[in-house]
Subunit: 269 residues, 2 copies
Amino acid sequence: MPPSDPQRLSLNTATVKQQWTLAQAIEGCARHGIRGISPWRDKLAELGLKKAVSLIRSNELSVTGLCRGGFFTAKDWLDDNRRAIEEAHALEADCLVLVVGGLPECSKDLAHARERVQECISKILPEARQAGVPLAIEPLHPMQAADRACVNTLEQALDICDALGGGIGVAVDVYHVWWDPKLESQVMRAGKKRILAYHICDWLVPTRDLAFDRGMMGDGIIELGKIRNWIDAAGYSGFHEVEIFSELNWWKRDPDEVLRTMKERYLQT
Amino acid sequence: MPPSDPQRLSLNTATVKQQWTLAQAIEGCARHGIRGISPWRDKLAELGLKKAVSLIRSNELSVTGLCRGGFFTAKDWLDDNRRAIEEAHALEADCLVLVVGGLPECSKDLAHARERVQECISKILPEARQAGVPLAIEPLHPMQAADRACVNTLEQALDICDALGGGIGVAVDVYHVWWDPKLESQVMRAGKKRILAYHICDWLVPTRDLAFDRGMMGDGIIELGKIRNWIDAAGYSGFHEVEIFSELNWWKRDPDEVLRTMKERYLQT
């Protein structure tokens, strides 16, 4: 397989969320020769949108995604998603990542939650299109179906995309989809048109927490090279974004060590 | 929906594995008017097969499954599965449940692991057919794909069944499949012929452990009534087996309380 291209590496700021502000993460990327960044909106709000735009431009970084819109179970979902679209537009982000939300409080009605997701996306999609902000549905691992996202497979996400038309696609995060027997076929189905973001990390054995125990590439069992080849073959030519939630390990480390390690590992896998 | 039928309730002995031997579980079922039991093989070995058969018969219990065969990653998988088939035959079990195993040690090759599962099953299937023991592939939740079972959806399990022919079907455990967008359609595809066992419990929010934090029916978010109706509509007329791994709660309680509670909850859901 072809070697990883360091020019395509991006930092999702969640990877160093306990250690760095957004300003520090931007400067960290520049220092380590990482050309892409994907900020989370809480950090963006802390820094302020204008300052963030200015700092990202002056460091010549690409914004490979904005995390996150979605959570259509929240009361203020419409206003919040509108603001997210505006922010993604200002940042010239490659996409706005949608983590769609799980079951509403006191509800077990999964089918209804899923219908609602599609309805809500259809309501914000015209504004996103107008703003030139592609929406990227991120299917989350089935273990997070109840509390974070009721879209849980690439097939399901692509069915929603097909129902809604243009201006929408998927964020493929290996952590959420590596286990899927239909991964290769659905990546090919998604193709260049629908794959808007590609997130990497690793699945640890054992995994000690359902949300915050992701591994650094190479420390787990995901076939990163194989999946990257599928993504490439499908026509995706964007960044490879490292997103590691790791309460027990990487969030405790020196963030410069984290960036150094992720770059090394990226080049090895 | 029609009320749950107490005659169809079965105890998977894992639910009280920390508290009771198999003999105690058999007597517990009889005491609580639970007509089905599904033993695990470690407990069966402790009691001895002959004694177990005798005690189960004298208490007029149905054996709704034997847990478990499979684990085709183990070195002695062939002998072990042969013994499991013999035991299931002696117990007149409705099926031998197959937990197929995850990735072999030091391997990340998921596709190969999955091919191997199908090959290994094809090797034991003739003996199982001859012994009159249906094999039930249990798709496990994707969060257990690496370490316990690389068959992770009902669709995938049914594809294997279709490739292998008769004498094989699936064990549908709500805990593993509740999140699946294709659950209803795949249950209907499975139908009477392929559904060999139906396991119930609940998915807790939050879930604190990837393996041992299952909930009692009613304590979580699984739509048990809806799924049971699908299973019924598909033609399944067997037992409803309660299987709860619960290190933090039910394994710590008085086992008579556990059986009383599972019976009450079963009748309510």
